[in-house]
Subunit: 449 residues, 4 copies
Amino acid sequence: VAVTDRIAAPIDATLVTQAVTDSREHEHTIVRWRRDLHQHPEPGFGEFRTAALIQRELDALGLTVRIGGSAMDVDAIYSCDETRIEASAERARQQGVDSDLVDQLQREGTAVVADLVCGEGPTVAFRVDMDCLPVTEASDVTHLPAREGFRSLVEGEMHACGHDGHVAIGLGVASLLAKRRSSLTGTARFIFQPAEEGALGGARAITARGLVDDVDYLIAIHLGLGYPTGEVVARARFLVTSKFRARLAGAAAHVVNAPETGRNALLAAATAALGLHAIAPHGQGWFSVNVGVLRSGDEQGVTPAWALMDIGVWAETQAAHDYVVARVHEILHGAGSAHGVEVDIEQIGGAPAADDDEQLGQLVSATAAQIPDIDQVRDLIICRAGEDATVFLNRIAEQGRRGVYVLIGSDLAAGHHAHDFDFDERSLVTGTAMLTAVAGHLLQREVSG
Amino acid sequence: VAVTDRIAAPIDATLVTQAVTDSREHEHTIVRWRRDLHQHPEPGFGEFRTAALIQRELDALGLTVRIGGSAMDVDAIYSCDETRIEASAERARQQGVDSDLVDQLQREGTAVVADLVCGEGPTVAFRVDMDCLPVTEASDVTHLPAREGFRSLVEGEMHACGHDGHVAIGLGVASLLAKRRSSLTGTARFIFQPAEEGALGGARAITARGLVDDVDYLIAIHLGLGYPTGEVVARARFLVTSKFRARLAGAAAHVVNAPETGRNALLAAATAALGLHAIAPHGQGWFSVNVGVLRSGDEQGVTPAWALMDIGVWAETQAAHDYVVARVHEILHGAGSAHGVEVDIEQIGGAPAADDDEQLGQLVSATAAQIPDIDQVRDLIICRAGEDATVFLNRIAEQGRRGVYVLIGSDLAAGHHAHDFDFDERSLVTGTAMLTAVAGHLLQREVSG
Amino acid sequence: VAVTDRIAAPIDATLVTQAVTDSREHEHTIVRWRRDLHQHPEPGFGEFRTAALIQRELDALGLTVRIGGSAMDVDAIYSCDETRIEASAERARQQGVDSDLVDQLQREGTAVVADLVCGEGPTVAFRVDMDCLPVTEASDVTHLPAREGFRSLVEGEMHACGHDGHVAIGLGVASLLAKRRSSLTGTARFIFQPAEEGALGGARAITARGLVDDVDYLIAIHLGLGYPTGEVVARARFLVTSKFRARLAGAAAHVVNAPETGRNALLAAATAALGLHAIAPHGQGWFSVNVGVLRSGDEQGVTPAWALMDIGVWAETQAAHDYVVARVHEILHGAGSAHGVEVDIEQIGGAPAADDDEQLGQLVSATAAQIPDIDQVRDLIICRAGEDATVFLNRIAEQGRRGVYVLIGSDLAAGHHAHDFDFDERSLVTGTAMLTAVAGHLLQREVSG
Amino acid sequence: VAVTDRIAAPIDATLVTQAVTDSREHEHTIVRWRRDLHQHPEPGFGEFRTAALIQRELDALGLTVRIGGSAMDVDAIYSCDETRIEASAERARQQGVDSDLVDQLQREGTAVVADLVCGEGPTVAFRVDMDCLPVTEASDVTHLPAREGFRSLVEGEMHACGHDGHVAIGLGVASLLAKRRSSLTGTARFIFQPAEEGALGGARAITARGLVDDVDYLIAIHLGLGYPTGEVVARARFLVTSKFRARLAGAAAHVVNAPETGRNALLAAATAALGLHAIAPHGQGWFSVNVGVLRSGDEQGVTPAWALMDIGVWAETQAAHDYVVARVHEILHGAGSAHGVEVDIEQIGGAPAADDDEQLGQLVSATAAQIPDIDQVRDLIICRAGEDATVFLNRIAEQGRRGVYVLIGSDLAAGHHAHDFDFDERSLVTGTAMLTAVAGHLLQREVSG
């Protein structure tokens, strides 16, 4: 059948019912995966144990698994936190992850992309992210993971954004589709992306390997984000974002004996900070620019010879974003030049605006509406955050294929990134069912009459 | 005789006595000149009536008078205030100054340089300035010029720094030397310089005509400056100074509809102002930099597309001055560049550091010590002000000749530049005597035995 | 009849047809008014000749006219430009406006509020503004007012926003309703407001006299604003705006002798300007803040003792506006305090957010849809500008009555406020017809059966 | 004898010769002390091993030793670096210093003040400092301490300013005077001060115990400071200095969702930094102010809620210093207030201006002139640095007693505070001789005739 036929076809109620039933049967396994991952949070590009777990499970299900260099190109990433990655590698080895694998993934990246190949036909891809946040998890008994014994084992690292749940859903959908493999055709692809937090370039690195070039439908997912258990959003959009690190290099001077020989990087940074926050508004789109970190100088008696600034930009439109980014460069270099200070600007993160597909959104909505535990379906919302799944969606849209970003509502114990964040695990089952049904519909093997 | 002989020779007491007697006889004329000038103050490069008066008096005394283009080169000036000059020209014509002369001086400049040629021998030059200040003179009876009827006839213009007295002394010395012409050899030169206030370039313009290139001894003078009647300072030194006008050109934008298209000259100027005042101290010399004037923008709803800044620099040493000036340019251009704003910097005034001559200073001191009304003589002091007589002194020093800047103390009614400034006219007589004696000594015709 | 009955009643086609016919018959008069006003532009609170013309015409039509102090309270205005007003008064006298009336209006204000009283019943009010802009009108023949001979007679003043047309429409509606007076009941009120530009407080001053307290329906109007001839917008909304003038008072000091005694108002202003432009974005509403004017200091050698800043704020929501205004005060006072400088902040203009009435909007839409020359009707749009008609709309809404701001589309020769702005005079006739029909419907005398 | 008699008395050549001979005999011991201290550098208020060594040596010489709380009052100190002190305590214990003593000194402070009591008579005090710098010492063989095997045993701590030499001289003078005790009367006091670097308050703490209240003559010393071996400066003066730490507390906000709720400490700090560097010059004294350290914020996506600034002030005069300090407070609080940020300013160091005594200076000069190895003696110089010995000198002067700060010239391998700093050990012997002779003169027991 032609790809365009399936998306427009009415969804088969039996298929939805089957997915719901299957997912309920797998609930225990899905929750077990989630809790295991929750106890072992790993930072962006340091998801060693996570990737090994995914590889092991999908291998067992008969999927074709790419890992490391075959799944991503590390040259395409913006930046990473070497210290956190090294600590994560050390922990992974101690926890029994194969040391050679850890070495390989530390060199090549931690992405896992696995295919369930079911014959000729379209490719449906799911993108889930796997990284945690540099947060120390709450330990009091009011916090469910603490009470139930699956609190993070690592001080300073925590799955505080639900990516543990995303991986569990991804594995769940793979299990359910693998079980029904004979009734499917085409390919179901599971993209486990490292380093979503900070938009460090995980999506760019996988895209650079061509791994979405042959995808016909792509669904990226997120739990929660303000929507309660029982709600689904078929198309979520995000702000355009870029993150920069500026390093300013001046010259030290003894401020009593020869202050005139100094080149004051601290004053250049202060001037730039004020200038950056004073970027004129854009008539066609709200934006926010923030100098979130400033470090400069070592001693009271010495002209500060260095400064470091971390700068984030978030904008409603690509035009507003690009305008701000151009101004950021202009202001930093101008402020440096005013103070005789060299400025080096490195992009350490970023995610573009993206188009999504209305018709795929309608399929998600129609499917969700048939799931018993989903009582509210929204079509289109804008999230006030960045998300580099947009890199995949853009690549998909460039090729005339279809992609959407789906929110799976979930009651939260506290906001995303908080130390007492926790989501409602019932969403894992519902989400797995819904995504399995959508994939089942798109990949359904036609019964020849 | 050799020039070097005369300066070292002991001063002849008779010569001093004669100068004192002569100057007392001329007191009435000198004071009349001063009061006439005081009533008719004229701004820098607008000294039309003043120049005409000087020309007339010195012609009558038999001096060779250069005026306008033969006394200065207008291309060498930094800047001038066209509006004040035009008003001054209009007044001069109404007061009967020859209209052709006013036209000529408005084109060529208002300097007057006159020589009393007495035969072979050295050239002794006196430099006096002639411009007034944009101040409205006090009118109450406690102010002597008001009480005695010679208050400024021009609202907004006033001789508030004693330059009227300087011209009167210059004319007085010329009169006394002309009277004793037969006993002299060599040349006495009188340099009446326009536009000392603001260091607009009067000294540069006269120097550019080569009019100090053949001078052997140069004495610049000033009344008051904190020293009372009866005191003399043989060598005064000044701060190095520069004045700049910066014009910033950005782009206007409607701040609601398209603020992103603006280039904000006001923010560039604000950034620059803070940067300019934050120039790091210099280890080898105090300085002061000041943004004295800032103008920017026209409407609340429009991004300010223009700004104007007037900036002054004063420094104890040439090194500190040059450091600050380099930073001024760097900061202005950097701030402009940070805001996408074009910056044009024009130097509108300036005066360098200068060396003076110890031996000529000793001659002045020795002579002053013999004047009955002078009871205190100082050798060397530093004035916290700029003064472009340093341009002459530098040119003199470059050629290995001798120059000093002499202060003639005078009791003041109020500080320099104040609207109720007034000096003690007795200083005119004392100053005339002292300078006449010094010139008489240097130009004394040797009686061949 | 009850007021609420009339608004919901279907509009009578005959009434619309009659208004269209009547307005076409009055076209010559309406255009004549407009061109006469265009030639005689008058600034905010200086609309002397304009007010006199309105008074004369409405008197002749039998309306009850309030003018000056009975129409507005000058104590409620924010600010005005005395220089432009004085020049306007002088011109008005020369053009034959009664000198006593000019004196009265200069004291009491130039508002005119006139009632066409037709019996018991509701009050329908129209608000038009009458002031011009400080723009010199284009004089080339491509500019229709120049070609047709009704270009502004005043250099530097121009009706560049269409308020001449607003007054002509107001007089037109009054004429048409007066003609059909016998078929009406209730009151038609015509509010001619001074000083809309800059939101100087004209609307506040009229509201302060209680003149909208008894109004049941209020319609404010504007021509153009981006909508072409043939379009109507039933409900236009505006940005919230405030305008401030800050005066900073420091202390002068000689920057060489005693710079430490200065209190630098220029640096305080520069600090404040950077801070004001760096106000953090608001999560619930775009805004723009602009320091449009900065003046400070007089001389290079003196610490600037004063500064003046004109600051404008425009915001999408009242919350964002109020947040920005609070920050403006905080930043100005903080910057002043950092530099030991006194800060005085005066509000010189402002207009709040306003609610409008959906049902009255529907009546306008329904009526407009029946006018032959109107081919497109929009319900609700947001204008990126401030407009103090919101003061009236707020007062109306507070009392549970109904108000809307109606845009009458008009092809423009150039943008609003441009020196070659001109609108399509056909809109005057269409607008008059539409407003007359709406008023006719609301005030229609019931035929007792 | 009367105190005033001895200072004016001509110095006895025999006494000088004896001091020179004695000091040469002690050279080995003095150098050994110095090298031992050099290997065991200890930070300000962490001089545990140093104090223990001093106590042991002076006990052995028969001096009365105060240590810890009897020598200083910790409440009078400005600040200290707990981390460096703790590490130093740990090292001291490992090196065998009595653990109870370390505990005591960590609580009470590390000062040692010891008296050599010789009978009735005046008190002559010597002040030496004992702390090191946070510098890692050079390790190459061109660096003498490395070559000779007495390089610092502690990475990151080094005697890079010669205080090891000061202690050795102090012990040397004590040894020499103790040897000649029978010929002396009065008291020789040795003040070993902790924490001179950074002016953390060591001098204040000793003064607070009243330990200079009964001192008649005080001599503070320093090696090097630009003067070569063989030179002595009888009276050195220093800049007035203060050091501040400012902590700014704002409020964090998610810069996308609710930026308006943030209180940006980073922008407040940037504003303050620019303002602090833009403090207007002082007409009566050069100064330098420096924001040497700025830290703010943690994440790109969060409004920085905190900032820390370390600020140093150095001034030629107390007036200029006090002016700058007042401005520092004003600017920090103003900038904080502009951004709604709390500012807390803590003084973490400081040293005042001080008067010294001309007559005691003359005695030092006269004595130095008789030392064979001293070939140049200067009277009075100004050091471009701060030094809290001024606290002692001030206390002495307040009581009408005499004090001076003496420089003992020494050839340096590299500048003070450099990692390859080293001085010429011959200066230790010369310095010991000179100071012993001065004390010997002042304390000389009169032979009754």
